[in-house]
Amino acid sequence: MKKILSVLLLSLIAWACTEDETQINDNDSFDRAAMLTNWADNIIIPGYVNYNSKVDVLAEAKSTFTSNPTVENLSTLRAAWLAAYVSWQKVSMFEIGKAETLGLRGYTNIYPTNATEIEQLASSGTYDLELPSTRDAQGFPALDYLLNGTATTDAEIVARFNTEESLSIYLSDITDRLKNHAALVLDDWQNGYRDTFVSNDGSSATSSVNKLVNDYMFYYEKHLRAGKIGIPAGVFSNTTLSTNVEAFYKQDVSKTLFDAALQASVDFFNGKHFDGNGQGESLKSYLDFLNTITGGEQLSALINNQFDQAKQISSTLDENFYQQVESNNEAMLFTYDELQKNVVLMKVDMFQALNVKVDFVDADGD
């Protein structure tokens, strides 16, 4: 009798101890190629096509404005800037292939932008926008400054562009650069890289799945969670840094940009088609295929629930993140906390389930 009891006790302990562990299904016969195909054809390429079309509109509005600076043309240009900026949020996470080689995100959306440097480079007339040191003087944040920060009233901004040709030239150059980059990346995807990407369907560290999952995680952690919320909210510094919000000069669109980015992250996780018609293989279906259970629940469900939580909390934020940080930073911190919870679920549990190793170090190695 005693023996049976102790065996029972031991197995009870063993069961209790393993209940919360994420069970890994070693038999991974998941169709990675199908997932890569869904990513490439239904999410990434349509995303870049959309981004290109918006940037083309932006470039046109820019030409109209620089050839005839008026308040009306400035308004049109601003609208085009915002539309392109929103469409950028949907592709920023795909820093792979040509985007990786170009360092696309670095030249497209580094903020806070460096207004002093912009003014200096513009007035000097000579600059090399390829230099990494100019990344904080180009891209969408630099356009934000040029369109919204170069003077206090719209009339004065327009006046500057009317009188300072160098400023118009700079505006034109950085806009064209965005357009050129966008075209290069889309062209690469459509003329070769798509096939390379899809056929690299193994599970090594350099396989498409492993690389893109890491890119996604890096984007979520560093650019969405930290860049848009954590850093301005002072999570990584002694004080809040309200001037480090995205779209600091326009100010009242930070939330729009954040929402687009968060939704893009959710959609990618679920394999939702860019055009909204349907859903295909992605991380959610992969996790479900592996029957990944964490703490007794489907991991994919936990992650999606947590995304919903983040969306709910962030919906209470002001459109103007600068104001939000200044007046009630706590709301930013609540949002950060909800975003952070998914970092744990994804970076630890999901990565482990998919047998993917994290390939980036986020700590400051200095």
Partner: protein, 408 residues
């Protein structure tokens, strides 16, 4: 059942009875919980000169960083290193008035320990010349060429993630060379080979004066107490609370303190910060109690642990650099390997306890650096993973840790 218990009991008793005989018969000195020592109600702890030099080091590192527009001249940078003008006159290169008023300098204590360099001024002057060459080159080569892309054989800027690094033609960041080499040549050398040395602690009649509690002229401390504190100051001189430095270890400077913190946060080495601090505390208490063997035993501990920190970080950065090697994106590797270079340079100033020697001779250190830079014509542009592994293994072999442990 009962017999085996009795035997166990007996064996345990035997064990505890015997173990005491192996220890030296040192009367127990109790260290205070914090680094607090007083005489007549006033503190006897003082290390302002060390704090000053760490702060000078911070200003120098700041000025060595590349700005978009306003970069320091070679002359100004060298003045910050020397705290005097080129012809030996009074200089005021710092932004802090206190530092400008000071007569201390980084240069005068670089490669200047009693044990290693009092009879080796030729090597000392070569080392000081290395620092001045790096500082000069930062201004005359890197600052000047900051607005072009770096390539193999061409100095300039290069991306490292969202940061920008400024490298020489061989891919080295001079500011990292200066910063990480100072950890060895200034902080470690002064602490391990000067102020913890019996040649300094027991100089002249320090022992007798200390035994009698005779304080130095106009001060509240004995000379021996003060020398020990000066070693302490090179690790904790800018700590938020100098009496309890481990509360903020790693955050208090850009030099030795920072890297004690970094190594401490590696699970493989957790506890090292406490080991070092406790040895400092106990050694200082031993001085007050006149227990000089105990004092020197603590000095040995500090020498071993601080030397290990330098070696661990050298391997860490070599391995990080190896992981980052990417011919299309060398910036991250250059940054890691430049830090690695500085920590390798610092190996020269480590101290093997119980000896008069460093863990690696100057020749050995020079050999490592030549290997690091010698895989091709363009230094770090050509370095191979095999070379990085070879150097890492050679360093780790002299210590108790593995490359894998240091690299994590």
């Amino acid at each position: 059942m009962k017999k085996s218990f009795l035997y166990l009991f007996f064996a345990a008793f035997l064990f505890t009875a015997c173990s005491d005989d192996d220890e030296n018969n040192i009367p127990s000195v109790e260290a205070p919980t914090t680094y607090t020592f007083e005489r007549d109600g006033n503190s006897t702890v003082s290390f302002s000169g060390q704090t000053t030099r760490i702060e000078m080091g911070h200003e120098l590192l700041g000025a060595l960083s590349v700005n978009d527009t306003d970069n320091a001249s070679a002359e100004l940078l060298l003045e910050m290193f020397r705290n005097e003008t080129a012809d030996g006159g009074d200089a005021n290169p710092y932004s802090s008035a206190d530092l400008n008023a000071s007569t201390k300098s980084i240069k005068s204590k670089t490669a200047a320990s009693k044990d290693f360099f009092s009879a080796n001024t030729s090597e000392a002057s070569l080392i000081k010349a290395d620092f001045e060459a790096w500082i000069n080159a930062q201004a005359e080569d890197v600052f000047v060429n900051k607005d072009r892309q770096a390539e193999a054989g061409v100095s300039g800027q290069i991306a490292d993630g969202s940061s920008v690094r400024y490298v020489n033609a061989q891919g080295l960041e001079y500011n990292q060379l200066v910063g990480k080499s100072l950890i060895g040549a200034l902080m470690a050398d002064q602490a391990l080979n000067n102020y913890l040395s019996t040649a300094v602690l027991d100089e002249a009649d320090n022992r007798t004066l200390n035994d009698n509690g005779t304080v130095a002229d106009g001060k509240n401390y004995t000379t021996m107490e003060h020398k020990w504190d000066e070693a302490y100051g090179y690790l904790y001189g800018t700590a938020a609370n100098p009496a309890d430095p481990n509360a903020t270890i790693g955050d208090d400077d850009s030099f030795l303190n920072k890297y004690i913190g970094r190594v401490e946060s590696d699970d493989d080495f957790a506890g090292i910060a406490a080991n070092i601090f406790n040895a400092f505390k106990l050694g200082r208490a031993a001085i007050v109690a006149g227990e000089y063997e105990l004092r020197d035993a603590q000095a040995s501990i500090i020498r071993e642990e601080v030397s290990e920190i330098i070696a661990i970080r050298a391997v860490y950065y070599l391995q990080a650099g190896k992981a980052a090697l990417n011919p299309n994106d060398m910036g991250p590797a250059f940054h890691d390997l430049s830090e690695g270079y500085g920590f390798i340079y610092s190996l020269r100033f480590t101290r093997m306890p119980g000896t008069d020697a460093s863990y690696f001779t100057r020749t050995e250190v020079d050999g490592f650096l030549e290997d690091l830079m010698g895989d091709g014509e363009n230094g770090l542009w050509d370095v191979t993973p095999e070379t990085l592994d070879q150097i890492s293994e050679a360093i780790a072999a002299k210590f108790n840790f593995t490359v894998a442990q240091a690299a994590s």
